[in-house]
């Protein structure tokens, strides 16, 4: 163990943020910059029969108004989808529509003005005539016979069908089952709501014909690739994409958005730098949204509680168009997780990706995995109730034993490592589960609605082996690049293709490299988010940065060490096998004579002076690695939540929340705990407050923060965090992803707790979020049925 990895190093990025010096895209001021605003459709589905931009164009301070045809004629291509499962039907997604809008918020026209206030005035002054068309918003209803078609050429609104698993084993399990529990549930639409609204800025250099684009992206290199190859048509060599500080993403800033094309295109047209900053209202109706599944499922088991099969059919709402990675989420990140943490031979799942007149749906924190965890963990609780078993004990009975790892599930994944029984035991211990149950019994005797929810959840993080991704439909690879550049003074610049938008990579990746090289962390600087400085990278999502990006840096550091060792041996006039590289100090010395060595700085300098290098060695000290992971990593969690439901207001009060996670080796415990805590609250948000709602005619009813209830500080009383570590065996750091586990586990933990609290009243299911009214109605219905 080095000096830094495993310790809670304070974040090096914090001083700029706490002093208000964050470099967000909305803060960029360029000389002569103009402001872009976008006319958005108020209709969910309509034909555009006319548009009058004359009043807007005539306004003082308005430079130009552009329509969809202008972008088409100006060479802008449609937004592509980067993940296509077999036979996917992909609707055309223009940058700005020309004749038909498909969801509220679709771009209709673009205004360029000297001032954002004037731009807003001009947007309002554009008159558009819409001829409304029939709408469809429901994931499953979209496939009903006679349902309105979002795109005439796509039958039944089905973009794709996909299935995975052992259907024969599944059928056999149900044929032979002693008990079967069934459920039909909705995993509701969520709006990611990163606190920084999306933004883009661009500057065209006419002399060099180079375009610089600043964008709020989690992955600037793929954005550059898509801009170059599909949408903007400027060669990659002439296109620089910078994602500076980004104020949260949670998946929503992975994707290629129209504004990333509009702003640079406009900047070139008007010959001035341009900037667009989304209002919150725009963000809520244009950022890709999350979840939105309708699922029918059943779980088969023997009378002793052994799970034998799981059969799942899901309708996944993809919205009006396929966002960049949309088909990946409900397929290879959802069906593949249906085995949960359990040994279960007969798992089979199928999904229908459907199109509706709603904002496109894509990855949102967890992305597919929370949908799987919520489904599986609800079914397991139903099974426990059916069998009269304690839900924790039933989970431990079915958990994959630690000696079975690596464990091949029936749904493609090979789990790398884990110890789910110890994980659950730790959670039970930390929460005093027995005490909670005793307190629950007392509370119930007093007439109180006390509930305890327990879950054990799995995640696949650290995407992904590129060949596997390719076989599943990806248009790109999922390796990561990492460059370690040692300067002549011994200072180190680290260039990563990962991107930090809150995760603290400037600290954790510096910890990794400082330990690999044995240099002070203060001498390591992490550079990210700029295609002009980093050769290529795939960015940050899927809890991949430590697993994949960190591993690339380990590989590059190994190359640096090897070269430094050779230089050291050469300068010490010793055979290479007689010297050692001391990773505590960065010194190279002859074995047994630590005092006679050379410092890291001296050796770095020697690499650059090149006055005396080993024969055949090139000068310089700079290595890049492209790390393609051998597998996903498989973090796991066991969370226990204790709630009380008020008997008259039907509000849920969380009394305690205990999160025990296994994210493998931990680089920075403080940061990992922060990731878990933040993730938990987002998951609790899905369970209790958040709901993206469309009316039947496609209006987004929860389009502002007045309606969409993001958790506030008082939603939870606190979160108790603990962990176990089963290192990932296939990456050099032994790490697994930590960014999404909290979210994945929290939703079912709270839902199970609330339904446990309501069990004495005969309530067995309530759709999320578990608002007071929904609980009240469920209780009334249960009373009426009784």
């Amino acid at each position: 163990m080095g000096r830094y990895v495993g310790t809670s190093v304070k974040r090096v990025e914090d001083p700029r943020f706490i002093q208000g010096k964050g470099r967000y895209v909305a803060n960029i001021q360029l000389p002569g910059m103009v402001h872009v605003a976008i006319k958005r459709s108020p209709e969910a589905h309509a034909r555009i029969t006319g548009m009058d931009t004359s009043a807007a164009s005539a306004m003082d301070g308005v430079l130009a108004v552009f329509t969809g045809q202008d972008f088409k004629d100006g060479g802008c291509g449609s937004l592509p989808c980067g993940w296509l499962v077999p036979d996917t039907k992909v609707p055309d997604r223009p940058i700005v529509v020309t004749d038909r809008v498909c969801h509220v918020g679709d771009s209709v026209a673009v205004v360029v003005a000297e001032d954002p206030y004037v731009a807003a005035d001009a947007v309002e002054a554009i008159e558009v005539d819409y001829e409304p068309l029939p709408t469809v918003v429901d994931a499953r209803g979209a496939t009903d016979e006679g349902a309105p078609l979002v795109h005439a050429e796509i039958e039944n609104n089905v973009s794709y069908d996909w299935a995975l698993g052992d259907q024969e084993a599944c059928d056999k399990a149900f044929a032979e089952a002693d008990e079967v529990v069934e459920i039909e549930l909705v995993n509701q639409r969520l709006i990611p709501t990163a606190m920084e609204p999306r933004a883009a800025a661009a500057q065209w250099d006419a002399a060099s014909e180079e375009m610089t684009v600043w964008t709020t992206s989690q992955n600037p290199h793929p954005i550059r690739l898509l801009l170059s190859a599909f949408t903007l048509g400027i060669p990659e060599s002439k296109l620089r994409v910078i994602s500076p500080d980004v104020g949260g993403g949670f998946g929503s800033k992975i994707f290629h958005y129209p504004e990333e094309v509009i702003v640079p295109w406009v900047a070139r047209q008007v010959g001035r730098p341009a900037r667009w900053v989304a209002t919150r209202t725009e963000s809520q109706m244009t950022d890709s949204q999350g979840r939105d599944h309708v699922t029918v499922a059943k779980l088969a088991m023997t009378s002793d509680g052994t799970f034998t099969g799981l059969d799942v059919e899901t309708w996944a709402n993809q919205g009006a168009y396929l966002s960049t990675f949309a088909p990946l989420i409900p397929t290879a990140l959802y069906i593949t997780l249906l085995s949960g943490n359990y040994k279960m031979p007969g798992v089979f799942g199928k999904v229908h990706g459907t199109l509706t007149n709603t904002v496109p749906v894509d990855a949102y924190r967890g992305a597919g995995r929370p949908e799987a965890a919520y489904l599986v963990e609800r079914l397991v609780d139903l099974a426990a109730t059916r069998l009269g078993r304690d839900p924790l004990e039933l989970r431990r009975q079915n958990a994959i034993p630690k000696e079975d790892f690596p464990y091949q599930t029936p749904v493609a994944f090979l789990y790398d490592s884990g110890d789910y029984d110890r994980l659950m035991a730790t959670a039970a211990d930390r929460a005093d589960y027995a005490g909670m149950r005793a307190a629950q019994a007392d509370a119930r005797a007093d007439g109180k609605l006390r509930g305890v929810g327990v879950v054990c959840c799995i995640e696949a993080s650290g995407p992904a082996p590129s060949a596997v991704a390719g076989s599943l439909g990806s248009a790109v690879g999922f390796w990561e690049s990492g460059e370690v550049r040692v300067h002549p003074t011994g200072q180190v610049s680290v260039f990563t293709g990962s991107h930090t938008h809150g995760q603290g990579h400037e600290t954790t990746l510096a910890q990794v490299v400082a330990d690999e090289l044995g240099v002070p962390i203060e001498s390591v600087e992490v550079v990210h988010g700029d295609t002009g400085r980093i050769n290529f990278g795939m960015g940050t999502y899927g809890s991949r940065s430590a697993c994949v990006g960190g591993s690339a840096l380990v590989r590059s550091s190994e190359k640096v060490r090897a070269k430094v060792l050779r230089i050291g041996a050469h300068l010490l006039e010793a055979a290479e096998e007689d010297v050692v590289y001391d990773r505590d100090t960065g010194r190279v010395h002859v074995k047994g004579s630590p005092d006679s060595g050379k410092d890291f700085g001296e050796l770095a300098f020697a690499a650059y002076t090149a006055h005396s290098l080993p024969e055949d060695m090139e000068p310089g000290l700079d290595f890049t690695s492209f790390y393609d992971p051998a597998n996903f990593t498989f973090p796991a969690s066991s969370h226990i939540c204790e709630v009380e439901v008020c008997r008259d207001t039907w509000e849920v009060r969380v009394l305690r929340y205990v999160a025990v996670d296994d994210v493998g080796k931990v680089i920075n415990p403080m940061i990992v705990e922060g990731q878990i805590q933040g993730g938990v609250v987002q998951g609790v948000g899905q369970a209790l407050t958040e709901n993206g709602v469309y009316s039947d005619d496609g209006q987004l009813l929860s389009g502002s923060l007045l309606e969409y209830a993001v958790p506030r500080a008082d939603l939870l009383p606190g979160i108790e965090v603990d962990r176990i570590e089963t290192p990932s065996p296939h990456n050099p750091l032994g790490v697994k992803g930590a960014g999404e586990m909290g979210t994945i586990a929290a939703t079912p933990a709270v839902a199970n707790a609330v339904l446990d609290a309501l069990a004495p009243l005969g309530v067995t299911h309530i759709e999320l979020p578990l608002t007071p009214e929904r609980i009240w109605r469920a209780v009334q219905a249960a009373r009426a049925a009784a």
Binding site: Y117, A120, A709, R712
Partner: protein
Amino acid sequence: MYPNQFDYHRAASVAEAVELLSSLPDAKLVAGGHSLIPAMKLRAAQPAALVDIGRIPGLADIAADGDNLVIGALATHASVADSAAVRSGCPLLAETAAAIGDIQVRNRGTIGGSLAHADPGADYPAAMLALGAEITAVGAGGERTITAADFFVDILTTALADNEVITSVRVPCAAGGAYLKHRHPASSYAVVGVAACVGMDGGNVASCAIGINGVTGKAVTADAAAAALCGGPASADRIEAAAACVGEAFDEPLGDLYASGEFRAHLAGVYTKRALAVAAERAS
């Protein structure tokens, strides 16, 4: 979000404000602006002119006047919540002010602005009704006093004339009062807010008034429930029975994504019960 263009006038006196309101077409008053400016940013409100009364001297004072408190229209929610005079003389009012929005909103929003806006989810109206407050306004015809019962007319509609300016609110001191709300998890508005005033005589409830906001377009009193509690002890049973009568107060409960009208009516009963219990205890 960016408001439309408008003219801005800062009034130095109430008389000037009235004059400006009378002479400028489509003018609106602004003080703290915490109802109006958000609406203007969304361009849901597009007044041609704003008359800012925020700097008029003396209008933010809070003073005791015998058994009454006189609250200047410009008193912020924070100043009402923090006022020693209000906290001791009329805890219900301090509690109401403290329940509004958040710290930042309470630092800017004013009692006059909140009352004039008359949002169905606002917190003050219930308290005004339960306390039997009187609202003083100045218009072209001079000063007049409007009882709370007459003041709230409909959703976002009050008895104020277009050119009238609220100058103060007079509320009777009442030890036995309480305000409880069910807070909207996103907007912080009152899904239901119940203000209850209870006066005790010996062991019996001598007077009772209940104001409820959030359920209907305008705040209402629950007279049947209040009457049901009077004339006997404030026992749990009697409070429950009284609270069961609140439904009569609502013609057409409003619903939104979070809570239907039916559920709001249910919550009104629950919060009435709770508020009455607290108020009765404080009165004893």
